[in-house]
């Protein structure tokens, strides 16, 4: 088949979508590359070459930001992949109240991230928060979830997982229900246990679903910003700063050119991680 015959529509049909794509996506991207090399006050700009990139890389909190971004993305991604699979398998089995339980799992996804962040940061208050008062009733002294520099990031990651695992579960449910029942029947005839069914049929055959979850969760983690901003604003100090929150603070300070340079760097980093990951995952996909 040649390329010409594959084309179903004339270019005129593609034009409206093309214009929208150009004006709202392509053009801002190109402009952002340009403005990242300027000192920009919104009112005027002057070209300063790569100075912004040099400044951005000398940012003190940047190494913390990179480390936190990776840790956050990996932790939330792994937990969502594992918990989502378990919940997905659980909710496709023959339990009671299945659809009710499914909607309960999905419910947090529908909430506003900011609202969730504010609610959890109140619950995580070290002495008056619900979590620690409950723990105290059991005789356990809970830590300062968001004030302790060692666990603050993980506390936020936990909330992210609570909020986001519903999406992962739904994707898994779709993947698992698509597995033909014949495989399970064959396993039963061969005398396999339900554990075997899970490990040898459900897990390998829900790989396409797992890949989607990994990609979505990982990229979501890399660009995560709203939840951390609602809960800690990158604090205490700079201990929970992510790349995105560092960039946001630069915008806030009015360093528009510098912050745009940060976004270009984030774009490159996410691309460098996402393209190979996507390629790797799609290559090893198993066909049903």
């Amino acid at each position: 088949m040649t390329k010409i015959t594959m084309r179903t529509y004339s270019y005129a049909f593609l034009l409206p979508a093309g214009i929208i794509y150009f004006v709202f996506y392509l053009l801002p991207t190109i402009l952002s590359f340009f403005f990242s090399m300027t000192r920009w006050t919104l009112m005027d700009w002057d070209f300063i070459g790569f100075d912004n990139y040099v400044t951005f890389f000398s940012e003190t909190a940047l190494s913390i930001g990179f480390r936190n971004t990776i840790v956050y993305a990996v932790v939330t991604c792994v937990l969502k992949v594992v918990l989502g699979l378990l919940l997905g398998a659980f909710l496709t089995s023959g339990i009671m109240f299945k659809s009710y339980l499914r909607s309960v799992i999905f419910f947090p996804t529908l909430l506003s991230t900011i609202a969730v962040g504010i609610a959890f940061s109140m619950m995580m208050h070290p002495s008056q928060g619900m979590i620690n008062t409950s723990l105290a009733a059991l005789g356990i002294a809970g830590p300062d979830w968001l004030g302790n520099t060692k666990i603050a990031l993980l506390s936020v990651a936990f909330v992210d997982v609570w909020k986001g695992v519903g999406i992962a579960t739904v994707i898994y449910i779709a993947g698992i229900t698509a597995i033909p029942q014949e495989y399970y029947e064959a396993l039963k005839i061969d005398g396999g246990s339900s554990r075997d069914a899970f490990w040898h049929i459900t897990v390998p055959l829900s790989r396409p679903a797992m890949n989607s979850v990994i990609i979505l969760a990982f990229i979501g983690g890399l660009r995560s910003f709203d939840l951390i901003w609602a809960m800690t604003k990158g604090g205490p100090g700079f201990t929970t700063d992510l790349i995105a929150s560092i960039i946001y603070k630069q915008y806030q300070a009015g360093f528009y050119g510098l912050a745009t340079a940060g976004n270009v760097i984030l774009f490159i980093c996410v691309s460098l991680l996402a393209f190979p990951l996507y390629k790797f995952l799609t290559r090893s996909e198993v066909h049903l």
Binding site: R39, M43, G147, T239, G254, F255, N263
Partner: protein
């Protein structure tokens, strides 16, 4: 399925994902939700029925005024606007903006898109300088009322030799607010030196109360020990502001300036702050101070106004003293200048706006204003004295002014101010980094800001 096709789809999906990422980030940056809800001057709308009906109400001019929504400034301005409407037949339409950095970005965006209100209430000092006043605001240098405004204020709203604003409200001091009742109970006296201050803290702690209130959940409140120490810095290093602006003096390398960071560290190390200071908010801190569970609160004196709103019966218990230095001879207040009222140069109703401003700074307008907006420090307009019912804490501040023991905060004498100071002081104040490291980090932060402002010498 042909391999090329699935490859293409994979590629396009990836590209879209990445664009979604960028779009998401760009959105969070620029998306400062213009919290500006335009609500017409309902307060001014006591419909001065007799008066305005007799005039042809068709002649009424309406101008817009952009102002932040924290504190009582907006309420007080509404009262002035109601009076002005009767007198001048000029009504105000309010354009409410958020305060803090969100507000800064909103103002810059509105100016850049030529969408600014006719009048703007905004900070004086370094933040005003960042708005390029000569291009955006009307030159008020030759207005007759400027003679009544103190030079100390005028300097903070001057750019290129032209004066652009008039003061809104009173000065404000960075100091230590303290609970006088507890001071009396424990037999303490106002400390003259840092050593005495720490000794008082020790006694307060021994009495089972919080010696120093920390409210780091609202990160800006953590900066006070550094910012309010500036009177002490400039007493010891008189040319600090100049050298600092010219990239010759550094916080970490100037012992007097470094003291501010060290003071935060000392208070943390001695364990004088409340247990949950990282999770405590500004409002909770005010409550502690008013109720006497906390005794010292390093804060701006504008907090007195906030205390008055919630605990009016406790106002006489709250006193103010200057942040102590290491020597009893150096003891003075660091002063924040009031915000300015500026006229949009490119507005269509500049004449009406000018008339309104003239009324606003007239003794009559100021009398109406100070009826609602209680002074949190002395005024910067001549002949406007503090009224009888001024807060006790403000009366205590007056003596520093009378003796000339005041200095403007660094942000009013230098355009250099790093945006991350509040995060750095939280780090120092919670033991994440030491004082020296904090000062070094701040010097780097400042360097970035100065470069972005393109200041000479950086």
């Amino acid at each position: 399925m042909s391999k090329t096709k699935s490859k293409t789809i994979a590629f396009v999906t990836c590209v879209l994902l990445v664009f979604a990422v960028i779009a998401g980030c760009g959105g969070s940056g620029g998306n400062n939700q213009p919290a500006a809800m335009n609500n017409t001057a309902e307060a001014g709308g006591e419909q001065t029925s007799g008066n305005s009906n007799s005039d042809t109400s068709a002649e009424k001019t309406t101008i817009t005024l952009m102002v932040g929504n924290t504190g009582t400034t907006l309420e007080a301005l509404k009262v002035v606007a109601a009076e002005a409407e009767k007198k001048l037949n000029i009504a105000i339409e309010w354009d409410i903006k958020p305060d803090g950095t969100e507000g800064d970005n909103l103002v810059k965006t509105r100016l850049a898109t030529d969408d600014m209100a006719d009048l703007l209430v905004y900070n004086s000092g370094s933040l005003l300088q960042a708005l390029n006043p000569e291009e955006n605001f009307l030159d008020l240098t030759n207005e007759s009322y400027m003679a009544n405004i103190l030079d100390s204020f005028k300097e903070t709203v001057t750019s290129g030799g032209k004066v652009f604003g008039v003061p809104v409200g009173s000065t404000n001091a960075g100091a230590i607010l303290y609970n006088k009742k507890i001071y009396a109970d424990l037999g303490l006296t106002v400390p003259q030196t840092w050593k005495e201050f720490m000794a008082n803290n020790e006694k307060i702690k021994a009495a089972g109360k919080t010696a120093v209130i920390g409210t780091y959940k609202d990160t800006w409140t953590s900066q006070l020990f550094v910012l309010a120490d500036y009177y002490n810095v400039q007493q010891q290093v008189p040319n600090f502001a100049e050298d600092y602006t010219g990239n010759k003096a550094k916080y970490a390398a100037t012992p007097a300036a470094l003291r501010g960071f060290e003071k935060i560290e000392e208070v943390f190390k001695a364990g004088y702050m409340n247990k949950d200071f990282l999770a405590t908010t500004y409002d909770a801190g005010l409550k502690m101070l008013a109720e006497g569970t906390g005794v010292h609160y390093p804060m701006l004196s504008s907090a007195l106004d906030a205390i008055n709103q919630n605990y009016p019966d406790k106002m006489n218990d709250i006193g103010v003293f200057a942040q102590p230095s290491d020597s009893a001879d150096t003891n003075g207040l660091t002063v924040w200048m009031p915000s300015g009222l500026y006229i949009n140069k490119n507005g269509k109703k500049a004449d009406a706006a000018k008339k309104w401003v003239e009324y606003f700074v007239s003794p009559e307008g100021q009398a109406v204003l100070s009826g609602t907006l209680k002074a949190v420090g002395p005024y910067v307009i001549k002949d406007v004295a503090l009224p009888e019912d001024t807060y006790q804490g403000v009366k205590e501040m007056q003596s520093y002014f009378d003796e000339g023991k005041t200095a403007p905060a660094l942000e009013f004498v230098s355009p250099v101010k790093g945006p991350n100071l509040e995060n750095i002081t939280v780090a120092v104040g919670s033991g994440i980094s030491g004082a020296k490291k904090g000062a070094e980090d701040y010097d780097k932060d400042v360097e970035k800001q100065a470069q972005q402002l393109n200041l000479p010498g950086w």
